[in-house]
Amino acid sequence: MLQPKRTKFRKSFRGRRRGNATGGESVQFGEFGLKAMSDHWVTARQIEAARVAVNRQLERGGRVWVRVFPDKPISKKPAETRMGGGKAATDHWVVVIKPGRILIEVGGVPEREAMEALRLASMKLPIPTKTVHRDQAAAIMGGAG
């Protein structure tokens, strides 16, 4: 599963999720992408499940790009532990997703296959998503110079 090799700080605050994605909101590498339509923490396990779902559908053809990386440590106290004693150890890693963020991209496969793969991937994620085509914006923007 994805997680940072080393971090500057071991634990992090929860933070707030306000507004929309300000980066990574357009398809950059593949032809089709899965766009988040709401905000959420997405765990490394969910990302991995989505990635595996896409790869299985594509039968190892085409290419898959995971556009998000879980770099936020989430701590969790062990079960049946009394409160106190400070912040617990890191349990898992998440990525903070805001609406509009592209999560996964697929390229080199026909549209029908790509859409089905992304649909299966969305089933593994805790947020509503929509599939987007690179050309939806590119058709209007062309090869922006």
Binding site: N20, G100, G108, A137, M141, G142
Partner: protein
């Protein structure tokens, strides 16, 4: 070859800063026009008209801009288009003013035409590795798109490089000529299935025999 510029009429904009939100609510998009030797101008245009022009011009077809109430026309390229990340609404458009007699560089999309015999032969997929070519030419001579004929790709391991693509006269390629634009990717699964089928062919016969015995 001369590209026909797309016409667009803009209006001067008084509303600046965060107040442009109100403008967007009324279906008007803020636009900026700037360029070498030109003072940046805040303009506006109806969203519907602007989207139609953007769809026609893209980023590499010049647009002839005329500001309402002014006689002077200005040749410009669409430089940047901002979209709402969730709603997909058009937020803002930048136009870069150019001079018709000065060469400019633009990223021109590559469009594939026909079918590759090489890809059909190996049940592979044609992969467009380089979506856009960097070209330099006079603004009105920049092609809207560059077409690549896939019928040339007869060898399954062959590629089409940037230098091999035919360009109109007076258009210069800025990319490395050896850069691969199109290649054929054999689907690993298909290859594996074929290999497995070949390997299993005699084994399948044996298995059928053993089933009959059972």
């Amino acid at each position: 070859m001369t590209t026909e510029a797309v016409q667009l009429e803009l209006e001067p904009r008084e509303t600046l800063g965060k107040k442009v939100r109100r403008l967007r609510r009324t279906g008007v998009v803020p636009v900026h026009l700037y360029g070498a030797g030109l003072e940046s101008r805040a303009l506006q245009c109806e969203a519907r008209t602007l989207i139609r022009v953007l769809a026609r011009a893209g980023g590499n077809t010049p647009v002839t801009l005329r500001v309402h109430g002014e006689q002077k026309e200005q040749l410009a390229f669409v430089r940047e288009v901002q979209w709402h990340p969730v709603k997909g609404e058009l937020l803002h458009v930048d136009f870069l003013a150019v001079q018709a007699d000065r060469p400019v560089s633009a990223q021109v999309p590559v469009v594939l035409r026909g079918e590759s015999p090489g890809a059909i032969q190996v049940s592979g997929m044609v992969v467009l590795q380089l979506r856009e070519l960097d070209l330099e030419a006079l603004p009105l001579e920049i092609p809207h798109q560059v077409e690549v004929d896939l019928r040339r790709l007869t060898d399954p391991s062959g590629t089409i490089k940037a230098g091999e693509i035919a360009l109109p006269a007076r258009v210069t390629l800025l990319n490395d000529a050896d850069e691969v634009v199109v290649r054929i990717e054999t689907r690993r699964a298909a290859v594996e299935r074929e290999a497995a089928a070949e390997g299993e062919a005699p084994a399948a016969g044996e298995a059928a025999g053993s089933e009959e015995q059972a």
